[in-house]
Structures are given as structure tokens and as C-alpha cells.
């Protein structure tokens, strides 16, 4: 993807199949450009892409009929009530007027704007406008929901509400979500897979759930009364251990369960004060991908 001489997206090869995919990257990484290209707003200079099996060059209309899009920037019609706005947007997707009105009410209830749905959008606060944008994106029942920075400009409680809503939509299992954000927390809270972009290239792609599962083998113990005997017994099970003061870090061997650790501790009268799965956070993954 090129804008004039600037190459925005390059050598981008990936296949995203998860139910909730996070599109991460620093500002200017090409996240929004990728979304806009997939939606057919920008014509790619080379290469090809498919969304839900449809080619972005030749089947833009079909793609758009299957997608719900929540743009990053302010986008509304000021002199229109929220219910009319959402109804019109659903009608533009082909939903008949009466069904569109019903779905507009449902969508506004779902995002928590039921009480304010007859108010003009111009009078809404920033958080309410974000919710209205989400409502218009889901009103026509898309198969893919693209959210571009959905928590932009929201205060912590509004952000929590938005994240909860996205999770509810995800858990309905009726559509897939692509969430584009530079906020790691948002992606971590809502997504199962993550695609990290950096300078227009794929820097990392991983399944967060798999990573979390893999990291479950990594344990950190805080003990009282442990000695070399305790560590040796654990090492005999095949685990790798590292001791620092009264903390013991270990990688569990295959077939070893946490209850085995508890058993050894009980036999040697060692008290386990804290047991943590030391996970790679998304921040770790992100920093690794950025090469930092």
C-alpha cells in the first residue's frame, strides 16, 4: 500500500482466523491503513487480500455488507437522534425500514444508550458518541466487526464499559472481531489473537490463549522454611529451578502438576506463601516484537 512515494504497508503476509483479533502497533505502524484497505477505502498498489473469502479489489460491496465498522475519529450526524441515525445506517446495509428500527433500538439498548436514544447525537458526550458508533456498527448484524481505537478518549469507567461490551459481543460467538488499538490493555482484555505491526510490516503474530497456556508451565514460588532438600526434590521431578532468597522460579516438566509441588512441600514441612504463574504479558510480547 502506497500513498504517493511513501510505502505504508509492505510485505504483509498473514492469515487471521481467530474470533477476536487484536491489531497492535505503535502510532503510524499502518493499523488504520490496513483496515481502510481491507474495507476498500484505499486501493492497494500491489498484492491481494481476502476478507471472509471475498477479494478486496473485486468484491468490495460484498465485504462491506458483511462488515460492521467503527471508525477511530468522530463520526456522526449532528442533527439526528441516535435511533434515527442507527436505523438509517442499518437501512443502508439493506435491512428493511421496520426491521432496521427494531434493530436500532436493540443495538442502542445493548450499548447502554437506551435512555438517550431519542437525543440528538450532537448533544452526546464523547463516550456516548463512541457507544453510538458501536451501535451503528452492530445494528445490521455483521459477520465481522472492525473496531478502530474504540476506547479513544474514554475515561476509565467508560473504557471498562466499552471493553465489557466488546467481550459480550465476542462471547455471543455470532461474529468475529478485529480490534485495532495501540493500547495493549484493550487488546489483552478482549482478544484471543494478536497481530503486531511495525513500520508497515508484520512484527509478530500470536495466539494469546496459546501463549497463556504455554506460560502456565512457568511457576514462581515464595516459600518459608525451604532448603536445598526441597529444591533437589523438585529437580528430581525433571523441573528446572532457580533460587533467589526465599523465592523459587521453576519451569514445570511435562507430566508434573502443581499438586506434586504441594505434596513435596507438605512432606518437607515447607510453607508455600505465594504461587504465581509467571506469564509473558502482552507488553512483553509487544516489546519483543518491537525489538526492544
Amino acid at each position: 500500500m502506497r500513498f504517493g512515494r511513501r510505502e505504508i504497508l509492505k510485505e504483509l503476509t498473514c492469515s487471521l482466523r481467530g474470533r477476536a483479533i487484536g491489531l497492535l502497533g505503535p502510532n503510524g505502524a499502518g493499523k488504520s491503513t490496513l483496515i481502510n484497505t481491507l474495507l476498500g477505502f484505499y486501493k492497494p498498489s500491489s498484492g491481494s487480500a481476502r476478507v471472509l473469502g471475498s477479494d478486496i479489489r473485486t468484491e468490495t460491496r460484498r465485504i462491506r455488507s458483511l462488515v460492521g465498522y467503527m471508525p477511530e475519529n468522530d463520526a456522526f450526524i449532528s442533527k439526528m437522534s441516535a435511533v434515527s441515525f442507527v436505523q438509517m445506517m442499518a437501512e443502508l446495509c439493506g435491512v428493511p425500514a421496520s426491521a432496521a428500527l427494531e434493530r436500532a433500538h436493540e443495538a442502542l439498548f445493548q450499548v447502554g444508550l437506551a435512555e438517550a436514544r431519542y437525543r440528538e447525537l450532537g448533544t452526546y458526550s464523547l463516550g456516548m458518541k463512541q457507544l453510538a458508533k458501536l451501535a451503528q456498527a452492530i445494528a445490521h448484524g455483521p459477520r465481522l466487526l472492525i473496531l478502530d481505537e474504540p476506547t479513544n478518549g474514554l475515561d476509565p469507567s467508560a473504557r471498562q464499559r466499552m471493553i465489557r461490551m466488546i467481550r459480550d459481543i465476542r462471547d455471543s460467538k455470532q461474529l468475529q472481531i478485529v480490534l485495532c488499538s495501540h493500547l495493549l490493555r484493550d487488546v489483552e482484555d478482549t482478544c484471543e489473537e494478536v497481530l503486531i505491526l511495525n513500520q508497515g510490516r508484520v512484527a509478530h503474530y500470536s495466539n494469546l490463549q496459546e501463549e497463556r497456556k504455554a506460560n502456565k508451565r512457568f511457576l514462581e514460588l515464595e516459600t518459608y522454611g525451604a532448603n536445598g532438600d526441597f529444591t533437589e526434590a523438585i529437580e528430581k521431578l525433571g523441573c528446572e529451578c532457580a533460587v533467589t532468597a526465599n523465592r523459587l522460579k521453576m519451569i514445570l516438566a511435562a507430566g508434573v502438576e502443581i499438586r506434586d509441588i504441594y505434596k513435596i512441600a507438605a512432606e518437607r514441612e515447607v510453607r508455600i506463601r505465594r504461587l504465581n504463574f509467571r506469564r509473558d504479558t502482552l507488553e512483553d510480547i509487544f516489546l519483543k516484537a518491537m525489538g526492544n
Binding site: D74, L92, G141, R143, S172
Partner: protein, 285 residues
């Protein structure tokens, strides 16, 4: 599904045909237009002159009324000049109506960044423009060529089939003269509102283009001692086209073909400006 069920459900019902999506935009824009009392009032005002014309046509066929008028009755003649005057008056009113309604069609969408919301749907830029332009086209048609045709039919029914047959070309003149004016006004109003993004300023700019354009054209003609300034005077160009369509003599320095070409060029420029501006996102190269 009842509104109290707050879980996401996909839509599995029937869909409307793709060609009808522009009508959605037309319906909502029209509803918005007539929510304003001022614009509704203006729209109603536009029917006063056609009503007066209707009375005049009726009166010219009422012998008792003509006798009461005496000699003055013979002054009223229903011919191409009568319909040219009708189109001119209604055209002026159409311009005033456009100045109030036209800029409000696109500029709020651009100012509030709503275009990505329209264009991320199975809805093209062309359909968006057609949907918005159709509001003006239909509203302006209701006050220009439609009442013009009604007047023609009334006159023909009162005068007899012979008159209708001899003056059938006036039907084409009424429709064509109105349509070119509607096209120029709609495209100009939409292009200006797309570029200015501010409704009031766009309305003022529309007035400026037509009135100051005429003044500027006069100035060019006077300073350069040519008639080339007339090409930037849209009102003048339209006058030339109208008089030629109604077969009324004029002393214009430019021919009707030149006026047609100039007007079509203005339409093409406005369309190009619109196509350039009506995009989901601006690309900064």
C-alpha cells in the same frame, strides 16, 4: 426480538435490493429538510406564482372576466413568452430554495466525519451523491417543471387540441430549461458545501458565485472590452439557454450552443470537485 434482550444477534431477515439504498438517503434528507419551518415556508411560497399563473390562464378563457377588463384583457397572451417568464420566476425561487437547503445536505456529513460510516456499507460514493442530489432534484422539480407542465395541460385543455399540437415543443422547453437549471444549482450547492464544510458559508458562497459572478463578468467585459466575461456569468448563460429554448429573441453576444457548453462544463467541474471531496478518508501523500 424484544428490545429488553441485550445480547448481540445477527440479522437473518430479507434485504432490500441494492438499487433502493439511495432512496434511503433521499428519504432521511427530505425528512430533515422539511423539519425546518423556514424551508417549509419557502417551499410553500414557491407555489404562489404557479397558482397566479393558473388563475391568469383561467381568466383569459373566461369571457365575462375579459369583458370586465376591457382592453387590458387582450394584453395577456399565453404563449412561449408566458412560459419563459414562468420558468424565470420559478428558477429564481428555486435558486433561493437551493441556497437555504443545498448546503445542508453534504456539509454536516463532512464536518462531522460521517462519510466513513456511509461508505463502509455496501453503498458507493456515486450512490451517496445521487441520494443527496435527488433531494434537491425532486424538491426543485416540484416547483419548476412539474407545475409548468400542469399549466401547459390546463392551457391546452382550455384552448383545444390544435393549440396543444402547435405548441407541443414548449413541453420540451419547460422540462429541459428546468432540468439544466436544477442540475447546475444542485451540483454547485453540493460542490460548495463539500469544499467549505460549513453550511452558512456554503449558502453565502452560492449567492456570491451567482451574483458576484455576474458583477465580475461585467467588470471583465468593461475592462477588457470583450464579451468573454459572460462565460463566467452563470445567470447570463442560463438566460441565453432559456431564451433559445423558448424561441424568444435575445441580443446575447454568445450563441446558445456556447452557453450550453459553458454550463455543462460548470456541471463537470462541480462533479469533479465533489468526487475529489466525497471520500471516506483523505489520502495525504
Amino acid at each position: 426480538m424484544a428490545v429488553y434482550r441485550r445480547v448481540y444477534t445477527s440479522y437473518v431477515g430479507p434485504l432490500t435490493p441494492a438499487w433502493s439504498r439511495s432512496l434511503v438517503l433521499f428519504r432521511y434528507s427530505r425528512r430533515k429538510l422539511f423539519r425546518s419551518k423556514l424551508q417549509t415556508g419557502l417551499f410553500v411560497l414557491c407555489f404562489f406564482y404557479p397558482l397566479a399563473c393558473l388563475l391568469i390562464i383561467y381568466a383569459t378563457h373566461n369571457l365575462a372576466f375579459l369583458e370586465r377588463l376591457g382592453g387590458a384583457g387582450s394584453l395577456i397572451k399565453i404563449d412561449s413568452k408566458f412560459f419563459l417568464t414562468f420558468v424565470t420566476v420559478q428558477g429564481t425561487l428555486a435558486f433561493v430554495l437551493t441556497a437555504f437547503t443545498g448546503p445542508g445536505l453534504i456539509s454536516p456529513d463532512l464536518a462531522n466525519g460521517a462519510l466513513p460510516l456511509y461508505l463502509c456499507r455496501p453503498f458507493s460514493r456515486a450512490e451517496y451523491l445521487i441520494g443527496k442530489a435527488s433531494v434537491l432534484a425532486i424538491v426543485l422539480s416540484q416547483i419548476t417543471w412539474i407545475p409548468g407542465l400542469v399549466l401547459f395541460v390546463v392551457q391546452a385543455s382550455l384552448e383545444g387540441p390544435g393549440w396543444a399540437w402547435n405548441h407541443l415543443w414548449i413541453v420540451g422547453s419547460i422540462v429541459l430549461s428546468s432540468l439544466i437549471w436544477i442540475a447546475v444549482l444542485s451540483l454547485l450547492a453540493m460542490a460548495l458545501s463539500a469544499w467549505v464544510k460549513w453550511r452558512i458559508v456554503a449558502g453565502a458562497l452560492l449567492l456570491a458565485v451567482l451574483f458576484f459572478g455576474a458583477g465580475f463578468a461585467q467588470a471583465i467585459n468593461a475592462v477588457l472590452r470583450t464579451q468573454s466575461g459572460d462565460y463566467i456569468n452563470i445567470v447570463y448563460l442560463m438566460g441565453v439557454v432559456w431564451t433559445s429554448l423558448f424561441r424568444v429573441e435575445n441580443e446575447a453576444a454568445i450563441s446558445s450552443a456556447e452557453a450550453w457548453i459553458a454550463l455543462l462544463m460548470y456541471c463537470a467541474i462541480c462533479l469533479a470537485l465533489l468526487v475529489r471531496k466525497v471520500k471516506a478518508y483523505e489520502v495525504v501523500k
